[in-house]
Symmetry: D2
Subunit: 394 residues, 4 copies
């Protein structure tokens, strides 16, 4: 039937399990995070994943044949949000970026042999991976047409040369999916093992956000040779595959960040409800109420837009419009929510005695990652002009 | 299954019919509107309703037994938005405020005799009606507890005394549903015919918006006597019935205003796509693109929130949270959209050569009508405190 | 010394006189305005001007030799703001647009003979004038380079052909300053008497704002002949003269609109301080306090930016940066203030029982008139790039 | 005379010297900062101060008798902004918080002996100091009336007990000015040497901002005994003295943060002017231009409000209104500027390869420190009600 916002019982039950797991296992583990450190030990990730496996909630988005729960995008929307309540939640469930998007891409495009070699261990949490697309200026950033890393097909396989930048999770990844220019205006994706002597993670880039395991790295490819069958899918179809990954990946990002924002909101409401100020609780003051209400609205609108885009993806649509709308709105709305939550908690919010300062540092870049708001707005505007620009609307 | 944003074929076909009707009949009739006049002749309303009846799209929300199409709230969400593209659309389909909300209330609460006497002609478009609740300060406005109009039950029926203010559609209405105080803290709704000598429409209040037929009026009840069976539903249950009407009524408002905002957006995109400026079209300038994109986002989020609240109402929920979120967001978002559209059209937008100036004047009060944003935010905040204030969230 | 925000005693005394005049004469006269009418009778303007003359506050910006008070721009900033508290204030003091800007232009550029013929009666309030620059698309709007109205110099003087649009005050003006294209890329300003048979005010354009006397009109020039000495200043220097007028004119607009916004704010604070709601006054509710405070901030920042730009103009600078910053900020800030004031007054704010609905309709176009915000932002951005774009800042 | 925005030659020359010093000495020293570390070695501060002394720009706000340049508040507004371009600038010039505010307070209130003991070495940069006012909940935060740290006057001098929280610069400070409750509703300020055995800096609180030397600390006073003449000024006048310090201190904060925001803006304009994207420079894209322009406006309005408040303080006014307006606007505006600058620089902005991520983390708390925006807005609103609430404005 038409327009339905209900959830299947199975999803509700799974969501409950994930919520319990977050409360009892993941959030307590946040005490092990060290501020200012890059990421955290891989041992913590493995320990949490093991607990998630025991709880029956591991890899919710992964097809059952690869050991996951096989959720569709709408199911992910529900579960990833809850997992997203802690920055440790998505890695615990093995649904963190960039691995989660890489699994999707491999599943859709990889050969059977590649699936066995790369997808299976990745889905199992045995290894981590990295998606090497963005480059330092003047290379590929918001504008993918500036792609400068090249791959040449020789008798001896592919030879890759170029520098990648802000490659998330690179330090410690077992393999890279590398976006390369082939020919003049085509692109090819290549699978490169991390122990290939032609690839080097030259540094972790110090950045505002610091909790992503493996950091954001600079990765240099120097005469990096891979065999001809290292092509992911087919040669020269890299731009097309990038689209396969991009829309869902930006949406799952939204789901996870929505979880952080929801938790930040709850934290602030709770704090302000205890805090006495000017003869009442802070929570009873109109200026706090306004911020609570704006958070409620931002969260509800974010969730509705995510669900709508998830539905579109589940129908097999490309959903470029829906995911651009969702990404732009959710990135900005969740930033607003976390910012308000921090403000409501005053100096406590600024301190790392509360999780809000860390949430703010982690979520701010989301307005840039996966397409800055400006690039999405540009795409939305051009689409609007195509739709309404020619004929006078009635 | 879970989370579905699809539309039934019947709704899609009905929506197409309404869209055609809007383009071919209603929007051309806008030329008959006179700026600065209060409303428009009742003859125009009747002519458009007759055409809507012929097109098979009349009274989409009315149960079939009263001659309507029997849409549920989700169906209304789709159809009212399209009807809302013109300020003449909802009256043409007989789904304009306050009649539409009054039909709902009568259907849910009225006795059979009252339904025959009041609902049937109202649903048929033979008469108009009015809902007399708000009062001049210090009476009932945002705070219904200040209700000052009183009804006393005497041997001779009810006697009503008091002054109502901003009573929409009062001038020319056939009857009023009057909210009165009974006893100390109760309220009773009474049905009063407009020809009752105890009721007088003392003036139309000149206002920023001016197109609503029947205006916003001051209505004075002076020893106004009605029989004992003029009670709508049961005595002393007025506050409860007000809730029955309020949540759906504020949501159908959102649907209709979304239509205006959508049309304003399309108008501006089209205009800017034709307009040459600084060596390109205005539509190719980044500052215009930003506004197009923000409109797309505001419209999509508004629609998603409306659909979600409509779903909740269709499940029989009170949906106070969902409709407050939707009302607050949609009222502000549609105001932003119309404001941007006007800005993009420059002096043309300011002029009544385009419909935007009129749209802006009509839509601005929606941030106040049906509960000002501040009152909804206050309710949202208090609910958030109840939910998250006591126990520390995890 | 440096940085001084004090006011001379003379200005303070003049400001007091103007404030008294506004309270006792101008604001009471607002009762004579008819909503929905275009403007008001010229008799009212003349009556108010006569009273202003008696009060010794007439034409504050006009050089004393033309019967004014000879204030510099900073003095105007103080006095025009107070006069701006009512839409009738600037015409009463003969400092309303477009006359006020035209007087400035004539004083700076006109020949002695032209000053006698045009400036003297204008400064005295005997006649009104109009500045005919903007054109319907695809002519000159935000982009003056699209100027399409042409003037040709013949043996028999100038011949003007073209259509102007949104020409403020045209209906009833005694003369026009007409911006024409001469040659391929030059512009010339010509003085045209309203009784010239080649000029016709073809219509008043119905618009969101409606109180400006003489309206916003369409004016058609058809083989309109004027003598060779009808050139204002020198031929081919029209674009340059436009700059002479533009920066000060946009700033005096800011001054006047600041007055409206200040009054709207005061009205709302007073209203909310009387209004009982939810067990206190509305003014004691945090959501109202937030809006009061934001109004205070917007008003203070507007005033400071106006004063700064006024100072720059008084130093003989072109002040394009300062006046663009002020115009953009003040137009948006005063719109916000009036919008919040209306919101705080609820249905009363929407009604014409209070002045706020009218203020909102009148002030909204200011974000478009005298350069839309987008055009000013574009200029500000380009200037920033010139300043910081080349050398890395330190 | 009236309204003047000019600067004395001496100030202009000093400003030039400071700018050169910032470019040549301070900004290069930023390379020595380590991200994630708390503060930086005191050796760096001393080295920079020595260089500033050599450059003749040390302690610009300090009276000449204490070795400073004796600038009034307006002069500080100019110089502190430039010094504020680097987070190392204010410590270099010995005008960083909290020392700068403490110097002001000591100069206004301390006895001659106290000036010799505390002010002289502080002004000379020989020692650092700390102002111990805020407390953990439920103590004194936004609401100073909740002050919980007590001082009792005994035969043996004062005995202080209580815990202070978020005490900036405490770690390494030579002395504290401690705000204590005396009696039931009074407050007394006491001078406590850091080596007093009754005071302990129990921890540095990890926080979003991390560059302030000495951190934000928890400081516990346990039976901390100080002699009777450790009273700053007179006993029981602590709340009054707090006001002496608060208004100027919040304004000098604004000056310094304006410098950071100005530099962030320049950095982003320069970066975007070099960055090629979609066939032009990023700086030529409308969405970037919009952000440049909004930065220009925010910076100009911030500066104007700071100057106005500085003028008021220099007239000997309390300037509570002006400094609250400035603090609220500038804190939010500079946050917006830095946020936009970071956004414009994309992943580079997120990284610590550019200074923007650090600027954002450092400036965000300014919306909370020195009175959160909500507290200032509350004060502004109450003042507006006092001014306009009683009599109907005209």
């Amino acid at each position: 039937m038409t327009i339905d916002f209900s959830l299947d019982d199975e999803i509700v039950q799974l969501a409950d399990k994930v919520r319990t797991f977050m409360s009892e296992v993941v959030i307590p583990a946040e005490a092990e995070l060290v501020h200012g450190a890059h990421g955290y030990p891989d041992e913590l990730r493995k320990r949490l994943q093991s607990a998630a496996r025991d709880a029956g909630i591991f890899a919710p988005h992964v097809p059952t044949e690869y050991g996951g729960l096989g959720l569709d995008t709408r199911g992910q929307a529900v579960v990833f949000e809850i997992a997203g309540r802690s920055l440790l939640g998505p890695p615990a469930l093995n649904c963190a970026a960039p691995d989660e998007g890489n699994m999707l891409l491999l599943e859709k495009v990889a050969s059977d042999a590649q699936k066995i070699k790369y997808l299976a261990p990745l889905a199992a949490g045995d290894v981590r991976s990295s998606f090497a697309m963005t480059e330092p200026a003047p290379g590929a950033g918001s504008d993918p047409n500036r792609l400068a890393t090249r791959a040449e097909l020789t008798d001896d396989g592919w030879v890759i040369n170029g520098t990648k930048w802000f490659i998330t999770g690179a330090d410690g990844a077992a393999f890279f999916i590398v976006m390369t220019r082939t020919g003049t205006d085509k692109s090819t994706m290549l699978l490169v093992d991390a122990d290939n002597p032609g690839v080097e993670v030259t540094r972790r880039i110090d950045s505002l956000d610091s909790i992503t395991i493996g950091g954001h790295c600079e990765v240099v490819f120097t005469d990096c040779r891979v065999p001809e069958d290292a092509v992911l899918g087919a040669a020269d179809r890299g731009f097309e595959y990038a689209q396969v990954r991009l829309a869902p990946a930006r949406l799952t990002h939204c789901m996870r960040w929505l979880g952080i924002a929801q938790r930040a909101h709850e934290f602030a409401v709770h704090y302000a409800s205890q805090r006495e100020m000017f003869g009442s609780t802070e929570a009873a003051l109109g200026m706090a109420q306004l911020q609570f209400a704006d958070n409620e609205i931002d969260l509800a609108a974010s969730r509705a837009l995510i669900w709508q885009a998830a539905y579109a993806l589940d129908q097999g649509q490309r959903a470029a419009q829906e995911t651009s709308v969702a990404k732009t709105f959710v990135a900005e709305a969740t930033n607003r929510v976390v910012d308000r939550a921090l403000q409501l908690c005053g100096a406590l919010g600024v301190s790392h005695d509360a999780p809000l300062a860390s949430f703010l540092a982690e979520i701010r870049p989301f307005r840039i990652y996966d397409g800055p708001s400006e690039a999405h707005r540009w795409a939305l505007a051009r689409r609007a002009v195509r739709r309404y620009g020619v004929e006078a609307p009635r």
